[in-house]
């Protein structure tokens, strides 16, 4: 997915609706929330995200919150449904996790880019950190339907923060779990096990989603082994629709030029090698517009 040298636009399928919460269940450290979204569901691709306004009317929280889409169901009992996995971190996500079924929220979806799906059956490795595993299960389904072999590695600080639902697990050929405290799976980080899994299963492509530090570490491994890597980045957003310019990231285009690109429009899914990881929230030298 070459970015930067073309005119970037908002996801053409994005729609803003008042969506009713159908269900809200606590799963480990997270909440699994389902919204009735009608025909939006059929336009969502793995990697897309949703932007939700929080706090209700007269809220002092003026900015929209972005969440990776876990999966969608085209036709359920209530029509199309969209599901997310939320960690109650800040005031916005905490408000959302406290909303009961029946409540309507203002929601925009689908937003952003999606994971590139190979045209031929390949051997894919999906790597997720914490609730970053959520969008990988939908991706796994799509890849499997294309005849791909799918292996998965999920990591978190502790067992409670591993998100791996039963039906999700069924869609993968192997699942390796790592936790930093050793409370479940192998003790360590996802990157400790990558090289071996890549070699054993002759992996062709890595898809990842999780905190930026983890994505950077995965990209290092992928780069060294010469394996394609697509990742869904996590940057703080104020709007999710490309107008606020806060979620930018230094990305090298196919023309070799580094640009500060919006992760809501040119991402969240980007080629791992196109991100200037070492820039660490600075503007790298030679970036377009720095002369």
């Amino acid at each position: 997915m070459a970015v930067g040298d073309r005119m970037s636009t908002i996801n053409k399928n994005a729609q803003q609706i008042a969506a009713e919460i159908i269900s809200n269940k606590k799963v480990g450290a997270y909440h699994h929330i389902v919204f009735a979204v009608g025909d939006i569901a059929s336009h969502v691709k793995p990697g897309n995200f949703v932007a939700i306004s929080v706090g209700g009317e007269n809220s002092s929280m003026v900015l929209r919150r972005a969440f990776a889409i876990y999966r969608t169901i085209d036709r359920g009992a209530t029509g199309g449904a969209l599901e997310i996995v939320v960690a109650p971190h800040g005031s916005g996500s905490t408000w959302l996790t406290a909303q009961m079924p029946g409540v309507k929220v203002d929601l925009i979806a689908p937003l952003g880019t999606s994971f590139g799906i190979p045209t031929e059956p390949v051997r894919a490795l999906l790597v997720g950190g914490g609730y970053g595993s959520a969008p990988l299960f939908g991706l796994s389904e799509v890849l499997k339907n294309r005849g791909c072999r799918v292996d998965m590695v999920l990591g978190a600080s502790t067992a409670m923060k591993i998100y791996a639902p039963l039906d999700g697990k069924r869609s993968v050929s192997s699942l390796t779990i790592t936790t930093e405290d050793g409370s479940t799976g192998l003790t360590g980080k996802v990157t400790d096990v990558l090289a071996e899994i890549i070699e054993t299963n002759q992996i062709d492509i890595i898809y990842s989603c999780g905190p930026m530090g983890m994505l950077e570490a995965i990209n290092k491994v992928a780069s060294e082994l010469g394996i394609m890597h697509q990742c869904a980045v996590e940057e703080a957003m104020a709007c999710g629709v490309g107008v606020c310019m806060t979620c930018v990231l230094p990305i090298k285009g196919s023309d070799g030029q580094i640009r500060m690109l919006r992760s809501c429009i040119d991402g969240p899914v980007v080629d791992g090698d196109s991100v200037i990881w070492e820039a660490k929230r600075t503007i790298p030298e030679g970036t377009w517009g720095t002369n």
């Binding site: 005119m7 636009t9 908002i10 053409k12 994005a14 803003q16 306004s53 002092s60 929280m61 003026v62 900015l63 929209r64 203002d106 925009i108 940057e235 703080a236 104020a238 709007c239 629709v241 490309g242 107008v243 606020c244 310019m245 806060t246 979620c247 930018v248 990231l249 640009r259 500060m260 429009i265 929230r281 600075t282 503007i283 970036t287 377009w288 517009g289 720095t290 002369n291």
Partner: protein, 312 residues
């Protein structure tokens, strides 16, 4: 039939709801949610001479009823803007107000020359709330002399027809003094207010939250400052049109700025929370005006200044 028309300088607009510069992207993003021709005008992101990468991240922090931003005027530069963004906006049939920003008086002059013969522009917003690199990074709009110099440079180079709207910062001792100066320098109208300088310290990292350390505060938190600035300037210069902005999130809020003296109202931060906010506010404002017994927007402009003390 309710008359929603308004005017800024010599130019008429079908309704008083504008976007705020820097809060509408290139227009393409919002066009996904509503027809841009429904706006009184789209005010483009302040454009500079050259392409700008903007500042490092984090660029944003949410605050109670507001947000702090330090984008650093990221943008494509005037040439690419005129080549790509303006023709697209013209194709949509949108009313366009181009916002410009410079780092020197000469920048403003060059920008005005590049824009003077561009067709399809309704007005020029001159954002003088930028650091002047020739004067130790002091903000143009903070001193009467530099504010005047920037506006004069635009006036000399733009020709007679395009109205100049000078956008002022509220971070001054007397906004009326600055307003008086830029009007005498050739500004036809005023945009009030730009963001208010602020800072947030992250109490976990115990450092400023923004990479740029300070940022511009916007959102409902600053609305009373906007109302005050508009009211004061309207009182001093009742014949100068004001494009009001600052934390407008509802029709009621837009009505408040109009009562203070704004002829039109820009929607900024509210768009980040709701991309169709401008359309909702437009509907709500009309309802608000009608329910207060006004037959036209024009009658309500500056109505809070009336001396008879009567209610409507």
């Amino acid at each position: 039939m309710f008359n929603f028309q308004t005017s800024i300088g010599q130019v008429n607009f079908a309704n008083p709801i504008f976007t705020a510069s820097g809060c509408a992207g290139s227009g393409r993003e919002l066009a996904q949610f509503f027809n841009l021709t429904e706006l009184g005008a789209i005010v483009t992101k302040s454009i500079m001479l050259k392409a700008r990468s903007g500042r490092a991240t984090p660029r944003m922090a949410e605050t109670p009823s507001g947000m702090l931003n330090s984008i650093g005027l990221q943008g494509p530069g005037i040439d690419l803007f005129l080549e790509k963004d303006i023709p697209w906006l013209r194709e949509q049939g949108a009313n366009i107000v181009v916002s410009i920003a410079g780092e020197s008086v000469e920048d403003y002059a060059v920008l005005a020359r590049k824009l003077r013969s561009v067709p399809g522009i309704s007005a020029l917003e001159v954002n003088i709330s930028c650091p002047n690199v020739e004067n130790r990074g002091q903000v143009f709009a903070c001193h009467p002399t530099t504010a005047r110099a920037a506006i004069e440079a635009v006036r000399r180079n733009i020709g007679g027809e395009l109205p100049i709207i000078a956008k002022l910062t509220p971070d001054v001792t007397s906004i009326v003094d600055i307003a008086t100066e830029v009007v005498s320098a050739g500004a036809d109208a005023l945009a009030l207010i730009n963001t208010v300088l602020g800072m947030v310290i992250d109490t976990n990292s115990m450092r400023p939250k923004l990479a740029g350390k300070t940022g511009g505060l916007s959102g409902p938190a600053i609305r009373p400052i906007a109302v005050r600035a508009i009211y004061q300037v309207r009182e001093a210069m009742p014949n100068v049109n004001i494009l009001g902005m600052g934390g407008v999130a509802s029709g009621r809020d837009a009505f408040e700025l109009i009562l203070a003296g704004a002829s039109a109202v820009s929607i900024g931060t509210a768009t980040f929370g709701d991309p169709s906010a401008a359309m909702r506010i437009k509907r709500e404002l009309q309802d608000e005006l009608v329910s207060h017994g006004f037959d036209s927007l024009h009658e309500a402009i500056g109505y809070a200044h009336r001396s008879d003390g009567g209610l409507r």
